[in-house]
């Protein structure tokens, strides 16, 4: 087993254990932190495949932004664990069925003829830039799917913001531009007066 394999299996083991942790952790904050660990070790595996752009973006977007907001929400929720675990056994067969189906799909995809031949990672030259390669593909061959995905995300974002828009009566807000525009002369009146003699 080469050093490469050792590192791969280390990351893979951490990913699987962290994934188990996400499901099994009693505390939702711990579960979220396990998910962070899973993302980090996934990024490590991608890094092994010389996909440094994807690996770093995974850290940047999922760990650095998405999971922060996730943690933010989870910490503020008052979760009742006993209530959450209610009906676990009732829904267990359904969950097991879905899990089995997903395992079957994974095996099917990974065992298919297209992927079965690829057993070792492709080794690139030293000056190979994953970032450049991805950029070229995204903006030439896959430009339409890429743009469509971007527009769908934009629509989702606008919809999410639109959901929070509502007019409330009697809200006190400040008008910043008016505040910035205020001059000294508008607020302050300087009165010239003679000094008065000291009262004894």
């Amino acid at each position: 087993m080469s050093f490469f394999d050792v590192v791969f299996y280390l990351f893979a083991a951490i990913t699987v254990m962290a994934g188990m942790g996400v499901v099994l952790a009693r505390n939702p904050v711990h579960a979220a932190l396990f998910l962070v660990l899973a993302f980090c070790s996934c990024a490590g595996i991608w890094m092994l495949l010389e996909a440094e752009f994807l690996a770093i973006t995974l850290i940047l977007v999922y760990v650095g932004a998405v999971m922060v907001l996730f943690l933010f929400v989870v910490m503020m929720l008052d979760l009742n664990l006993v209530k959450l675990r209610e009906g676990f056994w009732r829904w267990f067969p359904f969950g097991a069925l879905i899990a089995g189906l997903m395992v079957f799909e994974m095996v099917w995809v990974l065992g298919s003829r297209q992927t079965a031949d690829v057993t070792t990672a492709v080794v690139h030259a030293a000056d190979y830039s994953n970032t450049k390669e991805l950029g070229r593909l995204l903006y030439t061959q896959y430009v339409y799917p890429f743009e469509i995905a971007a527009v769908i995300l934009l629509v989702a974002m606008v919809a999410a913001i639109a959901l929070t828009l509502r007019r409330r009566q009697g809200v006190k807000t400040q008008n910043i531009s008016e505040q910035v525009k205020a001059k000294k002369a508008d607020r302050l009146r300087i009165v010239k007066m003679k000094s008065e003699p000291k009262q004894s």
Binding site: T57, G64, L71, F72, M75
Partner: protein, 342 residues
């Protein structure tokens, strides 16, 4: 490159690479820690002078041993873990703050040759590492089981996530101008015949301001220190920490400040390039620029009162993000014309 190391290399054989790498890491981290220590002294001195005080002057000549005394004091103190705190996460939080602040230094070039790891996606790596720093703050606030700490951590998380977006777009402008994510190449792209007129601060000036101010906000420094806010939530996320655990937060904050100063000088101020054409490029310029940016950090702290929370959010979302987005478009269009001289 270094011929005198050859005999040691042959002696150690395959163990050479890890040993040499660790040695290089130590050569970066040790001066960095010294820099952090003396930055705290510089801060107290500079702010003292700005406020017509003397600053620390008792320990050693001109107070030069003050950082060592502070460090020793913090080292001797007991680490108190509050009852009801999550012990593992409570200890993990300061480590999570310091770790990304140090890890980011792997790709920072000091001059044309001096860099630990010449990574092609260096800029992206820096962005990813600095975005991890917020975890230390969040975990510290949550694990402390204290309301003040929790409020501080929520404020800080919201602030860092918002300013990261503006910062990211500022970096997009830089990488468009330099056409590379490699920090060394970004500096080399600013090389030219006109000294400082070739630096990216000239075409990207609005973005430079956005980046610098966002950098102050990212490191939770005054006037953006609502996460600590001594007058409101006593010390925010690290209120329950004592001794070395507290010192680690401190080290992380100052290491991040120095990192932001380095990045600002690399991306906008030409890194190790000389400001005038007749002087040679040297690492001295790099340190001079870094010192200048760090001085700005201290100057801000001595000058501005703390932002109110809603004003801080407004500045990030309604002013900085539109400015940096607009400048991405402007730079993109500008580069297509013949007026792009950089």
């Amino acid at each position: 490159m270094m011929e005198w190391l050859q005999p040691i290399q042959t002696l150690l054989g395959p163990a050479w690479l890890p040993i040499w790498t660790v040695l290089k890491i130590v050569l970066i981290i040790a001066p960095l820690m010294g820099g952090v220590a003396y930055l705290t002294l510089a801060e107290r001195k500079v702010i003292g002078w700005m406020q017509i005080r003397i600053g620390p002057n008792r320990v050693g000549y001109f107070g030069l041993l003050q950082p060592l005394a502070d460090g020793l004091k913090l080292f001797m103190k007991e680490i108190i873990i509050p009852s009801g705190a999550n012990k593992f996460l409570f200890i993990l939080a300061p480590i999570m703050t310091l770790m990304p602040a140090l890890a980011a230094w792997a790709v920072v070039p000091f001059n044309a040759e001096l860099v630990l790891s010449n990574v092609n996606a260096g800029l992206l790596y820096i962005l990813a590492m600095t975005s991890l720093g917020v975890y230390g703050v969040i975990i510290a606030g949550w694990a402390s089981n204290s309301k003040y700490a929790f409020l501080g951590c929520l404020r800080s998380a919201a602030q860092i996530v918002s300013y990261e977006i503006a910062m990211g777009f500022a970096l997009v402008c830089v990488l468009m101008a330099a056409q590379s994510l490699n920090l060394g190449d970004i500096v080399r792209a600013q090389h030219g015949n006109y000294g400082m007129l070739n630096w990216y601060i000239i075409p990207l000036f609005p973005v430079f301001l956005v980046y610098l101010i966002s950098g102050v906000a990212e490191t939770n420094r005054a006037p953006f220190d609502v996460a600590e806010g001594e007058s409101e939530i006593v010390a925010g996320f690290h209120v329950e920490y004592s001794g070395m655990a507290f010192a680690l937060f401190f080290l992380g904050e100052y290491a991040n400040m120095i990192l932001i100063a380095f990045l600002t000088s690399i991306m906008f101020l030409g890194g190790w390039l000389s400001p005038v054409p007749f002087l040679p490029d040297s690492i001295v310029w790099m340190f001079a620029k870094v010192a200048f940016v760090l001085f700005l950090f201290l100057w801000f702290r001595a000058t501005f009162p703390r932002y109110r929370y809603d004003q801080l959010m407004r500045l990030g979302w309604k002013i900085f993000i539109p400015i940096s987005l607009l400048w991405v478009v402007v730079v993109g269009a500008w580069m297509q014309t013949s007026y792009w001289l950089w």
